[in-house]
Amino acid sequence: MRRVAITGQGLICALGNTVSECWAMATEGKSGIRPLRDGGTPPYKFQVGAEAVGFDPSGHVSEKDLILLERFALMALVAAREAVAQSGLSFDGELGDHTAVVTGSSVGGQFTEEEGYQRLYRENNPRVAPLTIPRTMANAGASRISLEYGIHGPAYTVSTACSSSNHAIGQAFVMIRSGQATAAIAGGSEAVFAEGLLRAWEAMRVVSPEACRPFSADRKGLSLGEGAAMLVLEDWEHALARGASVLGEIVGFGMSSDAHHITQPNADGPARAMAWALKDARLDPADIDYVNAHGTGTQANDTTESEAIHRVFGSRAAQLPVSSTKSMHGHTLGAAGAIEAVLTNMALRCGVAPPTAGFREHDPACNLDVVANDARALPLRAALSNTFAFGGLNAALVFRRGLD
């Protein structure tokens, strides 16, 4: 089995437009959750969100792309460009045939879909925009990335709600490890600030009226966010042979389904995904120095995730540094795993666990060593990053410190 190197990373979210911008904000514990630019009419019950306000696609892509692609796909493309530029890879010739593109998205092109419905149902205009189908398809980002680089290998999109991009990265990891692909661009993107989607989240009563406070006793729910992150994954030997910087390594991937309830979490499924990821990585719980939690900030998620971490890590659980970076970049649904993968890998590279912003009060039901408000410098060898989705679908990735 081949080892899988991370040789490029790209990131756009409320914290910034590049990995370095976002990492600088995250390690300072600065949150990108701010008052919404459009608070809705009548106002949404929540007035904050992690909008990627600094991302203006027109500065990055052609007019033609602006016509053909909507926000989630444009963010995917721009994040992929940052990752590929850092990797130094060129996909000419044979490598293009042996490279995969796997992206995650939960809702796809929501803005375009809602514009179509507005025209149809509000304006009684049956002439829906002709590019609605390509703009809304969840695989728009994967397809455009493949076009950008002439990548002819396996390309597809995984949609498993909030686990989408951990599943996507896991798929790419498995393909490279088995030899089915030599390299991959993998990650996810999501643009959530469309009125209909916000109203749907409002109706579920899981969005916090104020910025989310994961694992804090006084937490009131999640904060939504938008963004994209992409990793360039590469066969370890291929990366070394071309003298690439190995920024990190993915060593394990675990998946499970709760088969319990369509939205209520339980601890069994997440615990099995984490345990499987560790087994897959051939690591013991004692080898993990940091957990980037799913940590949405809902009562239910944070208590069940804490219980699951205790089941997997036993007596060490209460001393294991855990943070939820969603406290700063929000819950980006299908992009969550990818954004958190980049931040987890940066944590390993820099030896710094990013904090959980807004944390105020220890919750006995979340008996974890929460990295609260301030980043913590730590020697980190390996780290776990969790995603759990509505529908009970869980995906966990294990990362190991790279060479550079």
Binding site: K45, R205, K220, Q264
Partner: protein
Amino acid sequence: MAPEIEADQLANRVIGVIARTQRIPPESITLESTFEQLKIDSLDGINIVFELEKEFEIDIPDEGVAGLRSVRDTVAGVRQLLENKSQIAPPSAV
């Protein structure tokens, strides 16, 4: 109208909403039924609250949802919100 009749009517409307939302016969629901007995979980609860808001033209706060365990709790909560609404409504609307 005697207060107890009004109370019955309110309870019947709440039971009607629960029955419609859960697709169960209203006869299977009494004031004493708990959500657990009716196999109503938190996700069902959100759906019921949404329909109650529409039926009674009230706004049920998130804090009010978490404590609901039974039909009686729900009727009491709806009654409270309706009373609050009538207190803040202008006199001409009462």
